[in-house]
């Protein structure tokens, strides 16, 4: 096993993917707890599909993928947040409309220009070869930002997540925190979808939070657990993908699924003892 990990770390492209991926896994797990608890899981999914559309258009126009997709996905994040807050429009239906439209635009643009090729496949299902030095720098800056945000605004994020109305009534600028979370989610998704793929990136946001909620009963416990769990799962996912020669993104999702199953099983034990 140690030999395998040693071998894995000797490849610079895997090392880059691991650095970027584990940082993205950390950020998405932290943001994910708040998103899942606020019933915003679908926003993560919708944003990744918008990201796919933006990436495809950027490639077709021969533009730098990140510089185009980051602003587009950030704009989509604000839009989706607005839609979800407005009770008059059915939020989940609107998100489904936006995500399928974005995929359709991406597919059409690609097929009209370069044709359906390996790039499209990589956008949809991810590739660990996609990471370059710029991605490494961007993902490091992003993770530092998310970590600082969580450190300084931890209690405010808790209050806004638990009870928006109470938080607003005690003078917290709820909208600013919601927008900040949406913005960081958008950037995390764009960076992460290169490795994980547009169809799989939302698992990084949702799985660690759900798994941790089976085990821990306090907000602090869930936050810490999902950050740690997410990074562990990412690491073992990449290792498994190398060992069994399976696609990286899908392998990471499967490791997360196994972790979720294990956490659910453990979560059942103490409850039975109590009853």
């Amino acid at each position: 096993m140690i030999d395998l990990i040693g071998e894995l770390l000797s490849y610079s492209f895997i090392l880059r993917a691991l650095t970027v991926g584990m940082l993205v896994a950390l950020c998405s797990a932290l943001l994910g707890v708040s998103l899942v608890l606020k019933r915003y899981s679908m926003i993560g999914d919708g944003l990744s599909h918008v990201g796919f559309g933006a990436l495809s258009v950027a490639m077709a126009l021969n533009l730098a993928p990140l510089q185009i997709s980051v602003p587009v996905v950030v704009a989509a994040a604000f839009l989706l947040l607005r839609i979800s807050e407005n009770s008059r429009i059915k939020g989940d239906a609107a998100i489904a409309l936006i995500s399928s439209s974005a995929i359709a635009i991406g597919v059409i643009v690609t097929s009209l220009t370069s044709g359906m090729n390996a790039d499209v496949y990589n956008f949809l299902f991810g590739s660990i070869l996609a990471m370059n030095r710029g991605d490494v720098v961007l993902s490091m800056m992003l993770s530092i930002l998310v970590l600082l945000l969580f450190f300084f605004f931890y209690h405010k994020i808790f209050a806004v997540t638990f009870d928006e109305n109470f938080a607003k009534a005690t003078g917290i600028k709820v909208d600013i925190y919601n927008m900040m979370i949406a913005l960081l989610t958008a950037v995390t998704i764009v960076v992460g979808m290169r490795i994980m793929g547009a169809l799989l990136i939302s698992s990084l946001i949702i799985f660690p939070a759900l798994s941790s909620m089976r085990l821990f009963r306090s907000f602090r416990g869930v936050i810490i657990s999902s950050a740690v769990l997410s990074m562990i799962c990412f690491f073992w996912g990449i290792t498994a993908s190398y060992a069994f020669d399976t696609p990286a993104g899908a392998s990471i999702v499967i490791v997360n699924l196994l972790a979720f199953g294990t956490c659910s099983a453990i979560g059942l034990i103490p409850q039975r003892e109590k009853e």
């Binding site: 019933r39 209690h155 209050a159 997540t161 109305n165 109470f166 005690t170 917290i172 909620m213």
Partner: protein, 236 residues
């Protein structure tokens, strides 16, 4: 000077005018119950007082040392909270947020405050329990403890007894009464008009058919009060 005075307040909800020309005053130590039919705009008015929704016209003024972010609020429970992983202490402590301003963390002063309020409401033993595993009555006490962390002066409650059984409801009303006797101003929305007239010293009745604001004894004599109380006894 009154703690809260509303003058000629009108509010609309989704572009429909739901409240028109509401005026009332709340002084220190008052126990005001807001009653009215379903959909008469009780919660909308409360959200207006808290600054969560804009007023269409009129004004709500705070005085007597009360600032608009120093109001304890006990909202109706939301779906999000049903399976929210949080310890009781985390929830109660979040009521102290308006005390720490831009500071990132709570000091021992806020933690002491949260502990005091837990004990005041008789739930000190639940401190480390998970909020979602508590009974409905215990959850309401936790939210009340949180509200008391945000204020010492005035607490607003939105149908605090909905979903509680009669015994727990009665216990909860006793707690509110003892807080009121200790000098905390209470503003409560209630659909239970009989309990409202039993505990409150002021009644605000809002609705399309009839409006009333004044002392409870006068409400019992007024047309709005008589009709609502009689309707209540035959209906519910």
């Amino acid at each position: 000077m009154s703690q809260i005075s509303a003058q000629n307040v009108s509010m609309s909800y989704e572009k429909k005018l739901v409240l028109e020309g509401i005026s009332f005053e709340v002084d220190q130590g008052d126990y005001l119950c807001i009653v009215g039919e379903n959909g008469s705009g009780k919660t909308t008015l409360l959200r207006g007082i808290l600054g969560l929704m804009p007023l269409k016209s009129g004004a709500i003024r705070f005085g007597d040392g009360v600032r608009n972010n120093q109001i304890g609020y006990l909202p109706q429970q939301t779906l999000v909270q049903k399976d929210f992983p949080a310890s009781v202490f985390e929830v109660v402590l979040s009521g102290c947020l308006n005390r720490i301003g831009l500071m990132p963390f709570y000091s021992s002063r806020e933690k002491r405050k949260a502990q005091q309020n837990l004990e005041l409401l008789g739930i000190g033993n639940l401190k480390l329990k998970s909020y979602k595993e508590l009974s409905g009555g215990q959850q309401q006490r936790v939210l009340l403890a949180r509200a008391l962390c945000a204020t010492e002066k005035i607490v607003l409650l939105d149908e605090p007894a909905s979903g509680l059984d009669p015994i727990i409801t009665n216990e909860f009303y006793q707690i509110i009464r003892s807080l009121n006797q200790a000098g905390v101003t209470i503003i409560m929305i209630s659909h239970d008009v009989k309990l409202a007239v039993e505990y409150a010293n002021k009644i605000l009745h809002i609705g399309t058919m009839s409006e009333f604001f004044g002392a409870t004894e006068e409400y019992l004599k007024s047309e709005a009060g008589r009709r609502f109380l009689e309707g209540g006894s035959s209906g519910a």
